[in-house]
Symmetry: C2
């Protein structure tokens, strides 16, 4: 029941602290505290604990890939040959820098990958590189037209 223990350690105030940091990772502890009726050190202690426990994994900048010039985004379903472990999938695919997301799935494919590339030429090269991996049997790609909604946490 150690999982229950982890959950028991979080309360409503933690939820609000998390929500505030998801909204803006640079919010000051004092500002969060004002909204919640806590002092800045009290908020910091909660954030420190949430990071230690692993609820908060880190803080990152949200980059507009379109502005950056990385305009091409594709979902690629990966179909593998025979029985493969997720370790194998990770070790063979993590070398490709165009992969933004990778997860193993239950369903028809073995894994789903989100590919980011500068343009279609770049995309084609990356796809061919991935397809040439011995592990990969075949792929099914779906090109993204536009990203309508993005909510890091629902």
């Amino acid at each position: 029941m150690e999982e229950a223990a982890v959950h028991a350690e979080r309360d409503d105030i933690d939820e609000k602290v998390i929500a505030r940091l998801v909204d803006d990772a640079r919010t000051t502890y004092a500002d969060i505290g004002d909204e919640l009726g806590l002092s800045a050190p009290a908020v910091k202690r909660r954030v420190d604990r949430l990071r230690e426990v692993g609820v908060i994994r880190g803080f990152t900048a949200v980059v507009d890939l379109d502005v950056l010039g990385w305009r091409t985004e594709v979902f690629v379903e990966i179909y593998c040959a025979g029985k493969i472990s997720s370790d194998d999938i990770l070790s063979t695919l993590e070398r490709h820098p165009e992969i933004a997301d990778l997860c193993t799935v239950v369903g028809e494919p073995d894994a789903i990958v989100r590919l980011l590339a500068a343009d279609t030429q770049h995309l084609e090269a990356a796809l061919e590189r991935i397809r040439s991996e011995p592990l990969v049997l075949r792929t099914r790609s779906t090109v993204v037209l536009s990203r309508l909604l993005e909510r890091p946490r629902a």
Copy 2:
């Protein structure tokens, strides 16, 4: 050619500043400056400009959904009836809080959605709610086993 101008305004140093902030949004300007041989105010001016231009859209906390108790993640392909606009898709689907990502695609489905739910019961309810939308003809779901890799920027 204003788009080209935007691109011309970014140089190698900007790239490194962005990379550093993607890695940790709470890195101080001084730390970034030390790595790049700049002073803190110089770094701040770059970050301010990158935010104004829109390359950096904001800063967010990365939350471990598994630890939070939202254990169920699914990719859902949405197939719509006839010709629909992306505005229609957004307005009908954005009301469902379980949707974490939504993009229109070119391929067999019309849109791909990433669903987050607390458990399978929650997931089932959300899926039925989405399927009952008049806009939605059919769906194809792929349940995520484990998220192996996550790189906000490649």
